[in-house]
């Protein structure tokens, strides 16, 4: 198949992997209660709300995922350099990254919960054992997809038939970049559904969560006492896919505008060095147009919400 068609095909595969990666990243952060809404899980025992939530905010999601993905990327890169097939090298690298993830999850949960002994928050061993596997499996999916993206991008040219188009960064560096980005996006978007809606589900819908509610999280599930597994089942219906879509769209727009710029600027398929500046200019103009469209989209959504919901009417 001709290289341009192959480049677009690989780009779409990367977009799909990005969508899956970010969705699972957000759901993993809900499973382990990492990132911003965990402040409420941490605060709950201090205001007398003993709970059965998992509590593992080791760090922000972005540095955490940068670490897991870089470990996976480095191991995969070493195995690839030893001649191991990518089908084996990428999952093995990911498993090593996930081993580190599970160790951190265990120590973080035990450490944080132990520190709350003075507020009579017990360590429920069934909560610890029951959540480690879901954390590992969700994290595995996210890290696997990111490592696969890094592998494809660092070999994009070779896979498409134009070796000059391989990304200049090494595989671990790309894994680090997308690990940081996937964590930043998962933390920025998906957290809202977990923090604003699910953690305070017994509070009025459609308003910001007041400071007086803080720490008073919803501790009872549809059946029995709530754990993080009930939260994942809820967030997977909206927050998770929205987060996946965010990363997928970013990767789509970024790669699409660069590729279209390269084709429209006559850089592809002959890789003429003189056409490079024109290709970059077209890519920049396309990116600016996408950004303006996003700004207009935000204005429309805010206007729609103001008109549909109206001013605040509660107390």
């Amino acid at each position: 198949m001709e290289p341009i068609a192959m480049l677009f095909a690989w780009m779409l595969l990367i977009v799909f992997l990005a969508l899956i990666a970010c969705m699972f990243e957000d759901l993993e952060s809900d499973t382990g209660s990492q990132s911003n809404p965990n402040s409420q899980v941490q605060l709950a025992p201090q205001v007398g709300q003993v709970h059965r939530f998992f509590n593992k905010a080791i760090s922000g999601e972005a540095p955490a995922y940068a670490m897991y993905c870089t470990i996976a990327g480095v191991i995969a890169w070493v195995l690839l350099s030893k001649g191991v097939h990518p089908i084996m090298a990428i999952p093995i690298g990911t498993i090593v990254g996930e081993v580190v993830h599970v160790i951190f999850a265990t120590t973080a949960h035990l450490g944080r919960t132990t520190a709350q002994k003075r507020f009579e928050q017990p360590i429920y061993l069934d909560v610890l054992y029951g959540h480690l596997l879901p954390i590992a499996t969700h994290g595995f999916m996210a890290t696997l997809c990111i490592t696969a993206i890094a592998y494809i991008q660092s070999n994009l040219g070779t896979l498409s038939g134009l070796p000059e188009l391989n990304h200049p960064f090494a595989l671990p560096m790309l894994a680090f970049i997308w690990g940081i980005t996937v964590g930043a996006i998962g933390s920025s978007t998906g957290d809202i559904h977990y923090g604003t809606e699910r953690e305070f589900q017994d509070r009025p819908f459609g308003e910001g969560k007041r400071v007086v509610y803080h720490g008073k999280i919803t501790r009872y599930a549809e059946c029995g006492i709530r754990t993080q597994k009930d939260i994942v089942g809820f967030c997977v219906k909206y927050g998770g896919p929205c987060t996946g879509l965010t990363f997928g769209l970013i990767i789509l727009f970024e790669n699409w505008r660069t590729l279209v710029g390269m084709i429209a600027g006559n850089y592809l398929p002959d890789l003429q060095a003189t056409a490079g500046n024109m290709a970059a200019t077209i890519g920049i103009v396309l990116g600016l147009m996408i950004g303006i469209a996003l700004t207009v989209g935000n204005v429309v959504i805010v206007r729609w919400a103001r008109k549909r919901y109206g001013p605040f009417v509660g107390e």
Partner: protein, 231 residues
């Protein structure tokens, strides 16, 4: 211009732009994740770092086929701008459709750009919620400046200090994150954008970032010189 001066000037401009960009982002931190504060529900450094990484990825691709410092830096700027645009828009989609919240600023009564009133849409005992239009536009400008700064540092390291691409990317990231952290300390938690009273603290951060970037630029020059990269 002398390569030594070019490296130092580019690193300083990049670092100062990174700091300025961070101040313009609407960052709500943990309270935004509960709809208690306006902005994006994550930390300042993480958000800017994520956006800058997106920009760096595109800038490094463009640097393989363009030698223009302006085009490479603008490619990075647009990469960050798209990342922030999509993230803020999707955050608002979750706020509006997932939690039924109207985006409203907590720091101003009237949006200075769209002239929409904010006060009556805000929940009491909250410092605003969602990403109102003024914060969105402020964030877009911040991403553009921050991404431009990050890509400028990368270009200088790649072409003037003659670093290998991956090393240039890592060092650019390091310089960028140092400046972003200084800005985050200056902000101290949450900020809504250029209309926020905290934005007035900007000059202090710019001076600090100037000094830090100057130090980083000299270090880069030393490393390149000792490593024999500058002939």
């Amino acid at each position: 211009m002398d390569p030594v001066l070019l490296i130092i000037v580019c690193v300083i401009i990049g670092g100062v732009l990174a700091s300025l960009g961070v101040h313009l982002l609407p960052v709500g931190g943990a309270p935004a994740a509960m709809g208690t504060a306006t902005g994006i529900a994550t930390g300042t450094v993480m958000l800017m770092f994520g956006a800058a990484m997106c920009g760096l990825f595109t800038a490094s691709t463009v640097a393989t086929f363009s030698n223009s410092i302006l085009l490479v830096s603008l490619s990075g700027a647009v990469g960050s701008w798209i990342m922030m645009g999509v993230t803020m828009l999707m955050a608002n989609i979750i706020y509006v459709f997932g939690t039924g919240i109207v985006p409203a600023s907590g720091r101003i009564d009237v949006d200075p750009i769209t002239k929409e009133s904010q006060k009556e849409y805000k929940t009491p005992q909250c410092d605003g919620h969602g990403v109102p239009n003024v914060s969105f536009i402020s964030g877009m400008i911040g991403a553009l400046l921050g991404g431009f700064g990050g890509a400028l540092i990368y270009f200088a390291l790649l072409n003037y200090a003659n670093f290998e691409p991956t090393t240039a990317g890592m060092v650019a990231m390091g310089i960028f994150v140092a400046n972003a952290i200084i800005a985050a300390y200056n902000i101290g938690g949450t900020i809504e954008g250029f209309h926020d009273p905290k934005f007035k603290r900007l000059p202090k951060a710019l001076i600090t970032c100037f000094v830090i970037s100057l130090f980083c630029g000299v270090l880069v020059w030393l490393a390149a010189n000792i490593g024999g990269l500058i002939k």
